[in-house]
Each structure stands twice: as C-alpha cells, then as structure tokens.
Symmetry: C2
Subunit: 375 residues, 2 copies
C-alpha cells in the first residue's frame, strides 16, 4: 500500500503580467496579476509540469495548508501530494486562481488602476478561453513550454479541454473530469436564477457594491444554495438528510424544520462571507459561453480536429449537473479524430461533487492514468 | 371520434364557513370563505360528483372561461368538459381554491376580522389534511356525501390521496397524478431556496408587506424561476430552448443572451404579478409536511390500511420532481393492502408539467378510468 502524505505548508505566489490582454469579448485588460501555488519540483527538462484548473468556487490553493492557517487545506488535497494519485514526488503541480477570481488574482474586487476604484461592474467578461490564455502566460513565466497534463473537474475540465484546442502542442494529456463540452439549457437556467438572485439584490448596486461598503449577501447566499442542490444527487441528499427533522416534529415555522434546510442555509451563509458576487456572476457566464463546437456549426468533432493530447475523461453515474452523457460526447468527438482517449464512468452516489471526493475506484483510475501517461 | 367541447362560461361561487376550524398545527381559524366552481350537473342520487384538487399555482378555475375575461381559461380545461376525459355530461365537477390561497378563498392577503388588517404573517400554517377537511365541509355544503372521484396532479394528487385516508367512506376513487407520498430531501431543498428568496426579500417585511403597500416581487420571481426549472425535464428544456441565442452571438452582458433566460424571466415576472408571496410560502410548507407514513413510523402500507377507494396512479417518465418511483411507492402501499389500483407510467418528454398537457396516451388512460370506475 502506498503511504501518501500532504504536501505540507505551502505559500501562494503572485505574478504581475504587465502587458495588455485582449479578451475573447474584445475588451482589453491593460495588466493583471495571477496568484498561484506550486507543489513538487520542476525537473531538469521541464517535462513534469501539471496544471490543475479550478471550478466555480475553487482557487489556486489545491493542496497542502498555510503556516498561519493550518485548517485551510487545499480543495484537491486528497488527489495531490507525495504518494497521492497526482504524485508530487514525480510531478510539478500548479494551481492558479483564475483571472476575475476573488482569491488573489485580479478580479472585480481589485482596484482598477485607471480609476483608482474597484473594478466592480467595469470588470470585463472572461471566458474559458481567456483563462487558458492567461494560464499559458503563467506557464511562459515559469519556463514551461509543454504541460505533462492539464487537469480539471467541472468548469476546470472545460479549461483542460480548451487547453488541448487552443495550445495543441503545449499539453501532452488532458484529464477532463465531471465536465461537459457545453452547458445544457437546464444548466444555463440554474445559472440564470443564481445570477438573477445576485443582480436583483438591492445591495448589489449594479455591481459597484464595494463603494457602498456592502455585499449582496442575500443574492450570493441564494445562488450558492441553488448550486449546492445541483452538486449533489437526489440519492445523496436522501441518504445524508432524508426528511430528518431538527425538532423531531413539525414546528409550523419558517425556522429550520428539516435538516436539509439547515445544511443549505449554512452553506449559503458561509459562501456569502467568502466569495465575491461579481466573480460568481462572471464565472457562471464563462460556464454558459463555453461551447467549442459553436464556431464549427455545432460540430464537436470538427472542433476537436486540432487537438493532439491524449485524454482521460471521467464521469460519475449520479452526476446530473454534468451527466455522463456529456462526457461521452467528448469521448465521441475524440474518437472521431482518432485520438487516444480513456473513459471511466465511476459508479457513485455523490452526484457532481464526486469529483472532489476520495473514492477508491475514481482515484485508482487517476493514479493509473497519471502513472502511465505519455510525456 | 368524440367531439369534445368547452364547458363555456363559468362563474365562481363563494361560501362562508362560519364555524371554527381546528388545523393540524393546533391553530384555529374562526371562520373562512372558499371560492369554487362547478361544471356539469349533480345527478339525483348525488353520486356523480368529482373533486379536482389544485397544485401550487392552481385555483378553483379548472375549466371554461369567464364572460368578462374570455382569455382566462381554466388550468385543466383540456381534461374537463363535455366529451373530454372527465366528461361533464356525466360528472358534476368541482374546483375549489384552497384555504390560504390567493384566488378568492381566505388566505394571508384576506382581512383578519379580529384585527381589521391583512392576515399576513399571522395566517396559520395549512396542511394537506386541512385542505381536505375544508373540502369535506364544502362537500357537506353541496350535499355530497361521497365523491365518485377525487382527482389531482402534483400537490393536488397529495390531496386526493389524503381524501382516501381521512374520509375512506366518502370517496369511491382517487386519481393521483404525478404525485408522491412525501417529498424527497431534494424537493424540500428546492422549496427551501424558494422560501429563502421570499423571506429575505427586503420588501417582504416579515410577511406584512400589504401594510407597506409592497410586494416581494424579487423573491417571488426567483421562487417561480426555480420552480419552472423543476417542472420541466432536461430534455424538454433542451428541445424548447437548447442554447438558442437571442442575438445569434454572445453579447457579454447580463441582459438576455440565451432564450432560456428570457423564458425564465418572463415566467417569473408574470407570476410575481399574480400570486401572493405568503400563499407561496404556506403552500411549499404544506408540500414539505405531507407524509402520511410519518405517524406510522414511516410505514406507508400501514398508513394506507384505512383506505377503501380504488386508485388510479399516473406518473410521467421524465418527471424528476415527482419521479415515477414515488408513484410506485403509492402503488406498492395500495397493493400491500389489496386495494384496486391501476398504474400507468406515461412516456413523456415534458417532465412534471406533463400532467397539465393534452397527451393522447395520458388522456386515454384517464378517459378509460373515469368511464369505468366504480361509483
């Protein structure tokens, strides 16, 4: 049995990119900073770098913990570390807070140098493609010409896919986990309700709430509650909470009666204290926009014609947010182009959240792939 | 082929029940009014009455239209009328706005005689069982000792089920369509987010918004948007809207980009102008509370032991709000008690909303059942 460990204490780094970035929307960011972390060592021929892309609420803090905050453990700590499926004794792993984020990289809560005020509503729309562009600049900065792998779950998987399409020569392997080649109407609908919750919160002030010393807590809280329902399966909610009553009986009140209500309110409250509402809005739009087939008349295999990477595609049986069918579309598009693709549909009751969990079957698949993949 | 017609012009009626009603919560309503409509004629031996129970956003206006508002057609007009599956040449059909409602029956927007102000937050919590009790009083008022059938979809189906449990001798047949013996944790979760949207709307004023001349439009709008997503299947949203763009391209804005966004905002706006927020809250709680097995240690067959009615249970293949599995639980509980039960799972892409639609297979099942059922 492999003895796996934590990467231990980690320290985020920050880098300024002082050159204009033309975004997919046509807007231009004159400069920006990215916050990132690295784990393991870059080898001599710089061939062992792995980029981990984060999903909606993630960050650069993928593994380990901070010296001054030992409880703040990286969001994919069960995956990344010495002896773990993505083994930092072998790989140099990078996590980066996406542009537009709220955990250290330049985003709507940052000061716009042109005005001296928070960017707020003026911050430009960001796409998955833009994130990949900025990640490629970070790779340049770190002297990495080609990633051994780009890895991500959910929205992170979309970034990993986009890497293979935007920089086919700069990524050897893509691991797209619990992901999709585009959102469905139902996905967009959930995002839209979350956005409307934030946009119509009186404390949102058209996105410039920073100047008013306010946060649209109500909207962000609702957005997160909706999100949480879609991250979990019907079965996992039934198993975790069922119809369990806080007081053992009905109390005929709008206070907490069912334990599921307590869970949702707790998650919503916590998130609304930690996350920036404008980042939430921008990120849901990036999710909605992602659709590499769009510019190929809806033909996904045509969109994938450029890609050279080998792929690992993983889905989870009860994930109804990014259902296995969506992952199979990616697999079909790759097979159509005669690319190497491994596909695993992991039996799991945990819904979309399964990609974050330490499931033995799932982790064995990742360990096997990362251990044998081409460089 | 049967030539079916509208019931034509209908006129709602109103009746005052001036005797105290003890509710399941223990609260007492000193008096209340119910608004109802009838279609067809009660026969001489009063054996042909059918009660139609409404769901969350429904009303007493089941069929026909109003002389002064010809566009306002009853919500189940495709089902109820001369020659229709629930044939008003044969049956005397009754629709009633539930107590606590906002379409004419006493509810939170009514004036509390004790205070002279709107009931608002003081209106007591209502359960499915309470609705059935008031419907039985209405039946008394109309001289109906026993219904040929009680029929309902979704929350209406829960009322129909509860009729068989509360008044086993007063209902010959129950048609429970797209219903469930209790909500799942996921169902409660969606209700809770909708409630939180309303409860945290600054215009809600603790439920007493009437006195402030306000309506919590934002909250009600969000609640309805969430609801609509769950009424439709992933497939039907994909078919109706897919990723269709309003402007044919991405506009990088929080204005409407995808047609699904337009649909949700329209439905939310419309509903928030027509429906009372307190009624919405009360109704979602009634949904959450319904659980006839609760007082039998979770044993649904035990709860059904009292029932004497024959049952028709109908579910729809893509209904994920009240999935076919929930209907089968009802069927099993009935079979366990050796009751007569017919079950049809209708193949449909329309999700939960299918129970309101004019689907040939579905309507043929209803026509057949209503045409042959015991009296």
């Amino acid at each position: 049995m492999i003895q796996s460990q934590s990467v231990g204490i980690v320290t985020p780094q920050r880098v300024l990119f002082d050159e204009p970035l033309v975004l997919k929307s046509g807007s231009v960011l004159p400069s920006y900073e990215l916050t990132f972390e690295t784990y393991g060592e870059l080898n001599a021929d710089r061939s062992n770098a792995v980029l981990v892309c984060h999903a909606l609420s993630g960050s650069h803090h993928v593994a380990g913990h901070y010296a001054d905050d030992p409880g703040n453990i990286g969001w994919w700590d069960n995956l990344v570390g010495p002896g773990k499926p993505l083994d930092t004794r072998e790989f140099f792993v990078i996590g980066v807070n996406n542009l537009g984020g709220c955990f250290g990289s330049t985003g709507p809560a940052s000061i716009n140098p042109a005005t001296g005020r928070h960017w707020g509503a003026e911050f430009p729309f960001i796409t998955v493609e833009d994130w990949v562009t900025t990640q490629a600049r970070l790779a340049d900065h770190l002297g990495i010409e080609r990633f051994a792998a780009v890895v991500g779950g959910s929205l992170g998987g979309m970034q990993a896919i986009s890497w293979a399409l935007q920089y086919p020569d700069r990524v050897a392997n893509v691991a797209a986990i619990a992901s999709a080649p585009k959102l469905t109407a139902q996905n967009i609908a959930f995002n839209e309700v979350a956005r409307q919750a934030i946009l119509t919160d009186p404390d949102f002030h058209g996105g410039n709430y920073y100047q008013h010393g306010m946060v649209p807590v109500r909207g962000l809280r609702l957005a997160r509650m909706i999100g949480h329902i879609t991250y979990l399966s019907d079965d996992s909610l039934a198993e975790k909470f069922g119809r369990a009553l806080r007081h053992g009986k009905h109390i005929y009140s709008y206070d907490i009666e069912f334990e599921i209500e307590s869970y949702l309110r707790y998650q919503g409250d916590k998130f609304s204290r930690q996350f920036d509402a404008n980042t939430y809005l921008l990120t849901t739009k990036a999710l909605d926009y992602f659709d590499p087939a769009f510019e190929h008349g809806g033909n996904l295999p045509a969109a994938f014609a450029r890609c050279k990477a080998d792929f690992l595609v993983v889905s989870f049986s009860t994930d109804w947010r990014f259902a296995p069918e969506r992952s199979r579309e990616i697999v079909y598009a790759l097979l159509h182009n005669r690319r190497n693709v491994s596909y695993a549909e992991i039996p799991s009751g945990a819904g979309h959240d399964a990609f974050l969990l330490d499931d033995a079957h799932y982790h064995a698949v990742l360990r096997s792939y990362f251990g044998r993949m081409k460089r």
